[in-house]
Symmetry: C2
Subunit: 208 residues, 2 copies
């Protein structure tokens, strides 16, 4: 199985590294980091660069495609090479997946039309602009589309999908290897549980 | 605050990216990825390279140092430049931290002697060889040493430490921004909950 993980300037690193750590451990799986052109791609915080070893054209038919989100998503909403590539690979992919606002890019490319999907809580309603039904679930599976909510939700998305692809035994083995028994120090990680002042702070920080 | 995140060949990416995503969002914080020499550093799965923008000698006194784990940890246990650097920066750092088997490198460098610490479940007892008291907790704070358990535990470690550094309000804001309200698909992420066959599979996969 070939998994193509799409990078673009301003991506949020955990969006892609969470699922990478899961998918990269499945048997007979090759992960390739792709970008419009091969080379270093700088993230949203501008202090991390990941090497894209392939350009989009070098990976014409991955079995799975994953696109993450981040502030840079806003720069990937216009039709062009990336959208065309997403539409093309989606026709033959077994799974087309996203984390966070990556789903907005899939939506803008047109591939999620008529589907249910999720994204980062701050952008959830924006999915509707593209004919996509927003869902507040952390992981949404609709056909061969699998979308995760914001940033850290990619881990849950990937383990859920790993179970479908490689079986519960293998997904559980990966979950134990990455010691994923989370103990968040606060109970504020979603809109349902965060107090209003934390939500307000988050909006302020994200808009800065 | 300057945070130095140490890379070495064969690192596990989520070990460092989890905490990076948290620390990188704290106010007035600069994160620098360092390695023995600047340049691309390849991870354990050999399909990801992160760019180390600085060599160890370029970052002589970070306020925080973080070292992750991974199979490559075994190659970093001998005394040498990295250990010398760790001992030196630890003398002035506000926080010396690790995720997963990164704590074994700190231990081998001698800085954790007499302290309590944690690491990946598979290697927990190895800490004792270096005069460190192993703890099964997911996050251990002892003095200015903060260690996290395996791989994904770095997120919990970093949010806990972010609360101490920047206050609960800021740590909670970051937790909401990264939508960290985990919903693991299985209840098998630690030795306490994983059934014996999953533990056996994990050992087999990790030894392959």
């Amino acid at each position: 199985m070939q998994v193509a993980i799409v990078l673009y300037p301003g991506f949020t690193s955990m969006d892609v590294i969470g699922p990478y750590e899961v998918f990269g451990r499945l048997p007979d799986t090759d992960v390739v980091f792709v970008a419009e052109r091969p080379g270093l791609v700088v993230n949203d915080l501008r202090s991390l660069s990941i090497n894209a070893v392939a350009g989009l054209a070098d990976v014409p038919s991955p079995d799975m495609v994953l696109i993450g989100g981040g502030p840079g998503q806003a720069g990937q909403m216009a039709d062009g090479n990336l959208h065309e590539w997403l539409r093309t690979v989606d026709r033959t992919s077994a799974w087309t997946t996203s984390v966070c606002t990556g789903s907005l890019i899939l939506a803008a490319a047109g591939v999620l039309k008529g589907r249910r999907a999720t994204t980062h809580w701050a952008m959830l309603e924006n999915l509707a602009e593209f004919g996509v039904t927003p869902s507040k679930e952390r992981v949404v599976i609709d056909g061969h589309y699998v979308t995760g909510a914001g940033v850290s939700a990619g881990i849950d998305m990937a383990l859920t999908l790993a179970g479908l692809i490689a079986g519960d035994d293998m997904a559980q083995t990966v979950q134990l290897i990455i010691e994923y028994a989370p103990q968040p120090p606060y109970h504020v990680g979603s809109l349902d549980t965060a107090p209003p002042e934390v939500v307000e702070n988050a909006w302020r920080v994200m808009s800065a």
